[in-house]
């Protein structure tokens, strides 16, 4: 066995040891192991999930050899679940792999409690009726669920969990937390110890821009009735003042200050996103509340009390031109403030836990620390029950998507992907599944789609003939490249849900393999 740290090095750099530990604890169930399902699991097995259970009742046919890498000629006639499972096990001996030769539809009908043993179920290539049933089962059992389906040059991925909360959302570009628009006393008094007009040119060009901005902003406030630059003219003036502070043209720290001056002008207080989260009714916690919501309740109290409208300080600063000493000291000041904020939140968490009758030390320090550090980046994702979305989609959204140039094809595919399931319920095959019935199938599919739209409250068919024809041409085929794409997306969403890092998709992802203008639809 390879040293896991080396084997997983490239992914540990993304989700860290905590994320990896969560993956290694997870048990994943796959329904149907055609190429879409197999490819999804392949990516997860490579990443080192704890265990997988492959469920498929079919035998390998010759046609499977053309689109599924996990079966080969020697597999024909054998259980598909068994063959796929054997190949997956070969990829990573740290994963516990097993299979059950049974049709997922039968399991859903006869043994709903079966699914409660898993962390997450990946359900592939199911028709609508089974999807809706499985969705209810998993929702009830609090099992995470992801649907994935490949269909010709289209397909979808849909996450279904009641609520998914994220502390470490790790956004790409997120403004640092320097508080230049609202410095706290220790930062101000540290700035006071530094003379911007220092005679030594080396010291002058090694004064960090944070200090320059804190001092200049304070100076400005003194002569402007306590307020910071807000109009365009004032902002321009402020930048001119910064420029005037330079003693040589090569002073990087002043250039950085001018570039970062918008951080002084930025409005104080928390973002709209965070405001929305703290006003969620879940912040009224009780004995059943999750750790996330308990910490959120504490955060809410902090913001209106000690925080003075701000979230706890993140505590890290970006690299900037500076002498080592000033930079390290500045770092310490930010860290100290973050630590102080954390201690307040920790105390509040304890008090809340006590109030709701739970162990006051029930949430670990590491967890609270991480929560404080990421307070500005928290995410709450909620997903409608599939049945609700299917029977009662958001009509304004639906109308908008159908008429919006960027969304209309994806929306068309969404409707048609549902229409083919209605079609097969009526005619016992998918449109275009067999040669020789194309023309008839095209008109039947059109009628079915129009019927579906009108059931949803949309009259008149905005679907193009081209799209309907293409859908029939696809004939329920599962192309390997499309399956690998859809499976790739599904596995990435599994990783986000299990590690509780990054942000999973909201709504339904519709793959558009024609021109790649795929979309997320929130219905």
């Amino acid at each position: 066995m390879a040293e896991p740290k080396t084997k997983y090095d490239r992914q540990l750099r993304i989700w860290g040891e905590q994320g990896q530990a969560a993956l290694e604890k997870a048990s994943i169930c796959l329904l149907n192991c055609g190429p879409t399902g197999s490819e999804t699991l392949k990516n997860l097995v490579l990443g080192g999930v704890g265990s997988i259970t492959v469920i498929d009742g079919s035998k390998v046919e010759v046609s499977d050899l053309g689109n599924n890498f996990m079966v080969d000629e020697s597999s024909v006639g054998q259980s598909k679940a068994k063959c796929v499972c054997a190949f997956l096990q070969e990829l990573n001996d740290a994963v516990k792999a097993k299979f059950i030769e049974e049709h997922p539809e039968a399991l859903i009908e006869t043994n709903p409690s079966f699914f409660s043993q898993f962390t997450l179920v990946v359900a592939t290539q199911l028709v609508e009726d089974s999807m809706v049933k499985l969705d209810k089962i998993c929702r009830e059992a609090n099992v995470k669920l992801i649907f994935a389906r490949s269909y010709g040059l289209t397909g979808f991925v849909r996450v279904s969990v009641k609520e998914h909360t994220v502390i470490e959302s790790k956004p790409d570009h997120f403004l640092d937390d320097l508080r230049l628009n609202n410095p706290w006393p220790e930062l101000k008094s540290f700035a006071e110890t530094i003379d911007l007009n220092v005679a030594d040119p080396v010291a002058h060009k090694h004064t960090p821009y944070v200090i320059i901005l804190v001092k200049m902003a304070e100076e400005w406030a003194k002569t402007h009735g306590g307020s910071l630059p807000s109009t365009r003219d004032e902002k321009k003036q402020f930048k001119e003042l910064l420029k005037a502070g330079m003693v040589a043209t090569d002073e990087e720290n002043y250039k950085e200050a001018i570039e970062a001056s918008f951080k002084v002008f930025a409005p104080r207080g928390i973002s709209l996103d965070l405001q929305q989260i703290i006003s969620d009714s879940c912040t009224e916690v009780d004995s059943n509340s999750s750790q996330f919501w308990v910490m959120l309740a504490a955060l809410k109290e902090f913001i209106v009390n000690e925080g003075g409208g701000e979230a706890p300080l993140e505590g890290s600063i970006p690299d900037m031109t500076s002498s080592t000493e000033l930079y390290v000291n500045l770092q310490k000041i930010y860290q100290a403030k973050a630590e102080a904020d954390y201690l307040v939140i920790e105390q509040r968490v304890k008090n809340i836990l006590k109030k709701i009758g739970r162990d006051p030390d029930g949430i670990s320090k590491t967890m609270i620390k991480s929560f404080c550090k990421n307070a500005r980046k928290l995410k709450v994702c909620r997903y409608r029950l599939l049945e609700d979305e299917f029977s009662n989609p958001s009509l304004p959204q639906l109308q908008k998507y159908l008429t919006d140039e960027d969304y209309s094809v994806a929306m068309g595919f969404y409707i048609l992907l549902r229409a083919v399931d209605r079609f097969t319920a009526n005619y016992n095959s998918f449109p275009g599944q067999f040669d020789g019935e194309m023309d008839e199938d095209i008109s039947r599919l059109k009628t079915t789609a129009v019927g579906l739209l009108s059931d949803l409250g949309c009259n008149g068919s905005p679907l193009t003939e081209d799209l309907i024809n293409e859908m029939c041409r696809f004939g329920a085929s599962e192309l390997h490249a499309v399956a690998a794409f859809i499976g790739g997306v599904a596995s990435q969403e599994v990783i986000k849900l299990i590690t509780r890092q990054f942000v999973p998709i909201s709504g339904t992802f519709i793959f558009n393999g024609i021109d790649h203008k795929s979309q997320l639809l929130a219905l």
Binding site: Q11, N43, L91, G152, S169, D466, R473, A481, K496, I514
Partner: protein, 449 residues
Amino acid sequence: MSHSTVQPSRSRDLDKLLLRPGNLVAPTFEPGTQLRDDLQEYVRILVVGAGGLGCELLKDLALSGFKNLEVIDMDRIEVSNLNRQFLFRLEDVGKPKAEVAAKRVMERVSGVNIVPHFCRIEDKELDFYNDFSIIVLGLDSIEARSYINAVACSFLEYDSDDNPREETIKPMVDGGTEGFKGHARVIMPGVTPCFECTIWLFPPQVKFPLCTLAETPRTPPHCIEYAHLIKWDEVHSGKDFDPDDPEHMTWVYTEAVKRAELFGIQGVTYSLTQGVVKNIIPAIASTNAIISAACALETLKIASGCSKTLSNYLTYNGVEGLHIKVTEFVKDKDCLVCGPGVLIELDTSVTLQKFIDMLEEHPKLFLSKASVTHLGKNLYMQAPPVLEEMTRSNLSLPLFELMGKVPKDVVHVTGITSQNDSKRSCLRKLRVVFKAIDGVTDMDMAGGA
């Protein structure tokens, strides 16, 4: 109608796309069994790179109706590849990637032939690349992309109206990933922007100023780069640092820790040291699968016309939700690589040596150590030594004579270009026109005007 008569077929799913007429397809699409057979028999695809993307690409292409594949990669398998390069097992560590990848896919997909090439991309002659219908790139380096791009563009010829000649277009499909993000693009040289037209999409890696490393370190990477770039040379005079030697890496790590302690900087770890020194790009299986699948699908569409093609650049970002964006970039009409070629006017008396010297000074080229070929014939080669010796005598001859006394023609030059302090191997297409050839030139000029 009875369904039971349908014969089981390996290509059942793909046939839906290849045998049936469609509405949203390329104008050239001719569905039918002939098309399916042609893809298998005549289409030859080169996969450049057998790493995270390359493994996926070989699998995807082998299951997308192609039978003639080749793969080129100079690397050997490492343990840290195993979290995503699914064709490799622990016991394969140390073996050439291209060879193992080709073998594994052939074992599982019968009828597919994959020829591996365990070598550098620069080691192959231009003709090697010209043999393929489509080149698919699964690389992680800008330099390698740039090189293959120049090779594919070098086959491009323009007609007298400066329109690209269709039969000389060598399509490329390029993928790249970093963590949860990636891109896939289709390059039709002369039609859509080539890699060099949009080189600004790949900004060069930021380097720390040496004075920061030496005088005012602030972050862990500063300490690591000090140990790696400054201290190593001070202590080990003359001995090259080898990033793959664990002893070397440990030395750099220990020195970085010492420096961090000296300056009160926190956070130097062995893993970070490796990351900084080797410029490790995080990589996961799912993103590689997604991007490769998009590339394979586009390859199938280019070869068959069975659907519209991506036009022309897709970005994928799965960090926050999922964002897929398609951008239609436009080509740079003055591009040195995919344009008609840099025009160079010469006297008929200019020797090959003089020509090579000129290239070094040319303001658009700055091309040193040039090797020159004309119509596939080596006029002068810098390496290997055997070829150098064979072609050396040409240096003193006029280029005009070496090119068969034609008034104008295209030559290909490979060498080293130095731009913005970085040197890299490159390939350039040059349009050489000879001045003042009596009569012929005037006629020709008049005709071409």
